[in-house]
């Protein structure tokens, strides 16, 4: 216990000012170093994000085909989009199909596959490899593979024929193009499945034992123990799936263009016309760059809204171990 007299004497004013200056200089030096380290990203962010976004907003109010100067067009691109472009609505609907149907289906399938693997005693790593491998395959190769498999005269249909089941025309029939894409999508869930597997194995056994003691059956255990415990991973998969879903392009492009060369993207009957496909066609095949920019801004707003909505909703059903993030 120091007495008043034993407390160290206050440093003289000059020393305090000098100390303050030293601290400020050190802080400034730290700031400089940090900014130096950040510089690649700062340059990249300004050049490849900020400037293009502003530029794209400008282009959306013009008619521009690159060969000539942009011509101011006011809101006409947006007006055309909402009143005169039926393909806009089709592409929006198709993309929402992915977000609302395909992505959740992939997550469910991934959880199911991962759950099956948790019960396996021997050869877990072999199964894991097999399930994971298809998701490593480049999308173009996978799509070409399925184009062959699902050819109306191909192996899958021949199998269905043997089983006396109806043989759909798959990618030639607009009713079956999306189921075809679903098959490709389910084939490639390996990456998400691995994450779910790790999460499922992470759930403490005591929780299951406790639930069993209280008389919960397997389904109830799943609902009340497993699901809440893996809900952060579900949330993560849905967000990533949604962001990727808005950018769905490759599979649809490869399938459409694999038929008659002159077929438009989205063939047959625009069933494969997703938002990015429509944008690509308008901007980089028909060279309506201003319109493509307008389309991209609408997509930006839609994507942001959906992402924020999903994040907001997550507060209600995502359960984090050990309190808040």
């Amino acid at each position: 216990m120091a007495t008043v007299a034993e407390r160290p004497a206050a440093p003289p004013d000059q020393d305090r000012a000098a100390a303050r200056r030293r601290r400020r200089r050190a802080a400034w030096r730290r700031q400089r170093v940090a900014l130096l380290f950040m510089s690649p990203w700062i340059i990249g962010f300004s050049a490849f994000y900020v400037y293009p976004m502003a530029s794209s907003l400008y282009f959306s109010f013009t008619k521009y085909d690159i060969l000539s100067q942009p011509r101011w067009a006011g809101l006409s691109n947006y007006r055309f989009m909402f009143t005169s472009d039926p393909q806009f609505w089709v592409s929006l609907k198709n993309t929402l199909w992915i977000i609302v149907f395909l992505v959740p289906l992939q997550v469910i399938f991934a959880i199911a596959a991962a759950t099956a693997l948790t019960k396996v005693r021997h050869g877990l790593s072999l199964y894991r490899t097999i399930f994971f491998l298809p998701s490593m395959v480049p999308l173009v190769a996978a799509t070409l593979g399925f184009l062959y498999l699902l050819n109306p005269a191909g192996p899958i249909n021949r199998l269905l024929h043997l089983l006396h089941l109806p043989e759909p025309l798959w990618f030639v029939d607009p009713r079956y193009t999306k189921p075809g894409l679903t098959l490709i999508g389910l084939w490639g869930i390996g990456q998400i499945m691995i994450i779910f597997l790790a999460a499922l194995l992470d759930v403490p056994k005591q929780l299951y034992e406790a639930a069993e003691i209280e008389g919960a059956g397997p389904w109830q255990q799943f609902r009340h123990v497993t699901l809440p415990m893996i809900s952060p991973v579900i949330f993560f998969s849905l967000i990533i799936g949604m962001i990727q879903g808005f950018q769905y392009f490759t599979q649809a492009y490869v399938v459409s263009k694999a038929g008659e060369r002159t077929n438009p993207i989205g063939y047959p009957q625009d069933s494969l016309l997703f938002y990015l496909s429509h944008l690509y066609q308008q901007g980089f095949e028909r060279f309506h760059m201003g319109y493509a920019a307008a389309l991209s801004w609408v997509m930006f707003i839609v994507t942001m809204s959906c992402t924020i909505a999903l994040i907001r909703s997550s507060r209600r059903w995502v359960h984090y171990q050990g309190g808040f993030r």
Partner: protein, 297 residues
């Protein structure tokens, strides 16, 4: 048996008659679980089998009732190399994927370091901005980026694909930052006390410790670039000399000559091959890397 059996004896007694039923139950469950796993495995492997089989067929056999090639035309793989400039496309793909990986590692490491181990004003804001670009749909920037690259005369080359990755990539920065944050502060402090500047701390302390994360990040970027279709199509699609394997493979479905499914499948397999090989050698890195993003994400 005494009236109050010891725990062990009681357990021994109760284990024997019950164990048969339980064992049978366990075996049945095991078979059931394994059947599901086996069924799923077959479903995942079947496409590979068919693709491989088709790659070895003659073109007449391809959509015929024969499911199995007869004879096995191994020369299809050689024909692929002879029919298309396959080597050039492979070179382009390796260049793109390799340089992209280098760029990402070089540019994202210091950025992640600054965001995790330095204290400075605006750090939170910067991190938020990095995250925001993760969620940004690239559509918003492709039109003006395309125009910029036209003015730079980079369209038709691989430059628009590679150069931006030397200026940071949000996903990589995020991953590395998360990892860097798990390295104890004391190590940095000790180095600072020893008189090291931040660059030396980064290169001599952090980077050696972060090798698993860096390996994972490098692998992800390499594979992402290897498999990338949209960006090479957009920026290099107009110049066949710059095509990557993904673009070339797709473009060949449109040869006026008519698609040859057997060659297409053979080419697809060759395209997949490096990925699968890398995967087998680097499995652990993969799985750890993915769980790094997902569970701790």
């Amino acid at each position: 048996m005494t009236a109050v059996p010891r725990a062990g004896a009681a357990a021994a007694v109760s284990r024997r008659p019950v164990s048969f039923a339980i064992r049978r139950h366990r075996i049945l469950m095991s078979v059931a679980n394994h059947s599901v796993a086996i069924a799923l495995s077959l479903a995942f492997l079947l496409p590979f089998v068919f693709i491989m089989a088709t790659a070895l067929m003659t073109n007449q056999q391809v959509l015929s009732p024969n499911i199995w090639p007869h004879p096995f035309v191994w020369s299809n793989f050689k024909t692929v190399f002879q029919s298309f400039p396959f080597l050039r496309y492979t070179l382009n793909t390796v260049t793109y994927a390799g340089l992209a990986t280098v760029g990402v590692l070089l540019s994202c490491t210091p950025v992640a370091y600054a965001l995790s181990r330095l204290r400075w004003r605006g750090r939170q804001v910067a991190f938020m901005l990095v995250l925001s670009t993760l969620m940004l749909p690239p559509q918003v920037t492709i039109v003006p980026l395309y125009v910029i690259f036209v003015r730079l005369h980079w369209i038709g080359s691989l430059k628009p694909l590679i150069v931006p990755l030397f200026f940071g990539d949000a996903f990589t920065i995020f991953l590395l930052r998360q990892f860097f944050m798990t390295i104890p502060e004391e190590l940095s402090d000790a180095a600072r006390v020893d008189g090291a500047n931040e660059l030396q701390i980064l290169t001599r302390v952090i980077v050696p410790l972060a090798k698993p994360a860096l390996a994972a990040v490098a692998l992800f970027q390499f594979l992402y670039s290897w498999n990338d279709f949209f960006n090479p199509l957009l920026y290099a699609g107009s110049n066949p000399n710059s095509w990557t394997l993904a673009v070339a493979l797709q473009q060949f479905t449109n040869l006026s000559r008519g698609v040859l499914w057997n060659l297409q499948m053979a080419a697809s397999l060759l395209f997949m091959l490096p990925v699968i090989v890398i995967f087998f050698f680097a499995q652990k890195v993969f799985v750890e890397g993915i769980t790094l993003t997902g569970v701790k994400g």
